[in-house]
Amino acid sequence: METMLTVENLGKSFKDKRIVSNISFEVKKGEIMALLGPNGAGKSTTIRNIMGIMYPDEGTITFRDKGKKDIPRNKIGYLPEERGLYKNVKVMDILLYLAELKDYPLDRAKERALELLKKFDLEGKDKVSVEELSKGMGQKVQFIAAILHEPELLILDEPFSGLDPVSQELFKNEIRGLAQNGTAILLSSHQMNLVEEMADRLFLIHRGTKVIYGPLDDVKKQYANFKCTIHGVNERSLLESLPEVERVEQKEETAVLYLSKDVQPATWLKNLPTQLDVQELSIDRISLHEIFIDIATDKNLLKREENLDA
């Protein structure tokens, strides 16, 4: 697959504070690549550097046309995290202005704008002033503005924040559709569940550095180990002495045992010692959500050095 965007060893500091360092990833044609991380991890900074709104201190950013140094702004659609629209103008006027800035032909823009407004349940709103739109409607208009000019690369910074579930579904379907039609999509989010549903690959960032990078399935396979939750009064030392247990988290009468990657759940269960007090027991895989929380709260469940190459 054709690579649309390559970020290599990106680094950026504000004053003395290091915001991001050593960030490298690629976004390919027709895939959804998720940039994932807790608030303040450096997602927006990374994206702003890609968009040329900030300039990186280190590293390079290359778009498909490697010959050109300039950012191919006309081929990129961008939905920033902090976003809004001019208040006292008509919806159609602002959509056409933004399309014009991208050098997109005006008549086609008008046609597509009407089509997209209809698709997003905003039919007939083209002549309405922006200030009369609800917040959700405004977000839809912003999204339409980002994709109106048929970009080859679409960068969405927290596209789902503040959306109701119905709109979220609408956005998800549209983004998936765009990817199927060959648009390269870079999507940042802190909502793990949404990313899990959509992304082909992910880059997990924390405190400005890479934690995980790779295809979603590989990440799941590698990091989503089994964990066993036991209700019952048990000594910590006993739990820790069990085979294949990497780590124990104990809170009152509940203990969570994190098992090693190669564990065979059925065999492992059969071999549990009889003195173990079990009121309730469940065994399941660690979800991406938990991995995310784990990283964000610095519990170091994952070894940072580990790397999955795409």
Binding site: G52, I53, L85
Partner: protein, 407 residues
């Protein structure tokens, strides 16, 4: 440049579709016309009411002469002959308003003092005005003395003191008026252009801070550079200012040409106007750079700090110099004002309108300082704009702004 044009076009279109802007576009010329025409209206209607009735009891047969004198002087009197006696006059005045009785008889030759009886409600200036009736009577006195017409004219001429200046030019009075108007008419026009584009330019500040408030700056900047956005705004609002000037011209100039007896159009399109307009445009660029930079540091006009407020007041700094420059258009204050970039556009235009001989060296120095300042402030504004426009929801402190400038 293409993107700059797009932004400029958008700003123009957006404002021309905005009701507030459109109302503002027409309200200032209309207000101007209202202030200009309404007092005129009242004056006209008052004229009839104010006219004073003057009854003349003429024993010497000079009534026709008096009537001619009054007409010539343009006094708003209604002259009427009467043969009422002095005793009766006092009684008659009680019932009449705004009237007076003048008795012209032998006393004019005896002591030269004639009685005037006036009603209570009469113009306070009436006693001054009535003196003009003295002239024809004096002529009669002289005639009575039997002087030749030459001697008579010498006496009636009297002696007057007239103001004279050391460097009085040989020009006729009418010629001086022409030269003065030739300078002052383009001067007033250039000042109006400067004022109009600077005021419209203040909207740049609004536009820049609105961009922050509406959080659209980042979306826009994904399509163009901050420099292009800034230039687009400056050019766009310049055009809007010119539109304002055009509206002003279309609405006000015909009225002025109609109302004032001066061939304004002839005096307006003179070579001097070109230089004054260049100064006005430079002034606009300087203030536009200031406003766009400051606008980018502010989230909201209502939360403007002292620092931003002071910068907004800079265009009015020229007012400090206006008084001294009027007194002495080539004095030290005038020179200082021409060399400070924030005051020089207004002061230069003012001086060029007042001065007969243009101080070319001072003008060139002033212009050079202005051009360099425009360039420097555009650069600074670019730096501030680039960072400030993306700093949502917060006003920048002077310290921060200084840091951006140094970066």
């Amino acid at each position: 440049m293409r993107n700059t044009k797009k932004v400029a076009k958008w700003e123009i279109k957006r404002n021309m579709k905005n009701k507030t802007f459109l109302i503002g576009l027409f309200i200032s010329p209309i207000l101007f016309l209202a202030f200009y025409l309404i007092p005129d209206l009242f004056n006209n209607s008052d004229e009839d009411a104010v006219s004073t009735t003057v009854f003349v009891n003429d024993q010497l047969g000079v009534y026709e002469n008096l009537e001619a004198t009054v007409q010539q002087a343009g006094a708003e009197w209604e002259l009427q002959p009467t043969d009422i006696s002095e005793e009766e006059a006092a009684g008659a005045l009680e019932s009449e308003a705004n009237s007076a009785y003048v008795f012209i008889d032998e006393r004019a030759f005896d002591g030269g003092v004639l009685p005037v009886y006036q009603s209570e409600e009469i113009s306070p200036l009436f006693m001054n005005e009535v003196q003009l009736l003295g002239a024809p009577l004096q002529a009669m006195q002289i005639e009575e003395l039997g002087l030749t017409p030459e001697e008579a004219s010498v006496i009636t001429q009297g002696v007057v003191f007239e103001e004279a200046s050391a460097n009085a030019s040989a020009e006729t009075e009418a010629g001086m008026d022409d030269a003065f108007l030739e300078r002052i008419v383009p001067g007033i026009f250039a000042a109006a252009v400067l004022l109009s584009i600077v005021f419209t330019g203040m909207a740049i500040f609004q536009s820049a801070s609105q961009e922050k408030k509406d959080k659209i700056a980042e979306i826009i900047l994904s399509s163009l550079t901050p420099g292009e956005l800034m230039q687009g705004k400056i050019i766009g609002y310049f055009v809007l200012g010119i539109i304002q000037v055009l509206v002003f011209i279309v609405l006000v100039l015909p009225v002025l040409v109609w109302k004032i007896d001066v061939p304004i159009l002839e005096y307006l399109f003179v070579p001097e106007l070109a230089l004054m307009l260049v100064i006005a445009v430079l002034g606009y660029l300087l203030f536009a750079a200031l406003f766009v930079g400051i606008g980018a540091t502010m989230a909201d006009i209502s939360t403007a700090g002292n620092f931003q407020g002071m910068i907004m007041m800079l265009p009015f700094a020229a007012l400090i110099f206006v008084g001294p420059v009027f007194n002495d258009p080539s004095g030290i204050w005038a020179q200082v004002g021409s060399y400070i970039p924030f005051t020089s556009p207004a002061i230069l235009i003012l001086r060029l309108s007042l001065l007969e001989e243009w101080p070319w060296i001072e003008i060139i120095i002033g212009l050079a300082i202005l051009i360099v300042s425009v360039w420097v402030f555009m650069k600074l504004a670019g730096k501030i704009f680039k960072i400030g426009i993306l700093m949502y929801g917060k006003n920048a402190t002077p310290g921060e702004i200084w840091k951006w400038i140094r970066a």
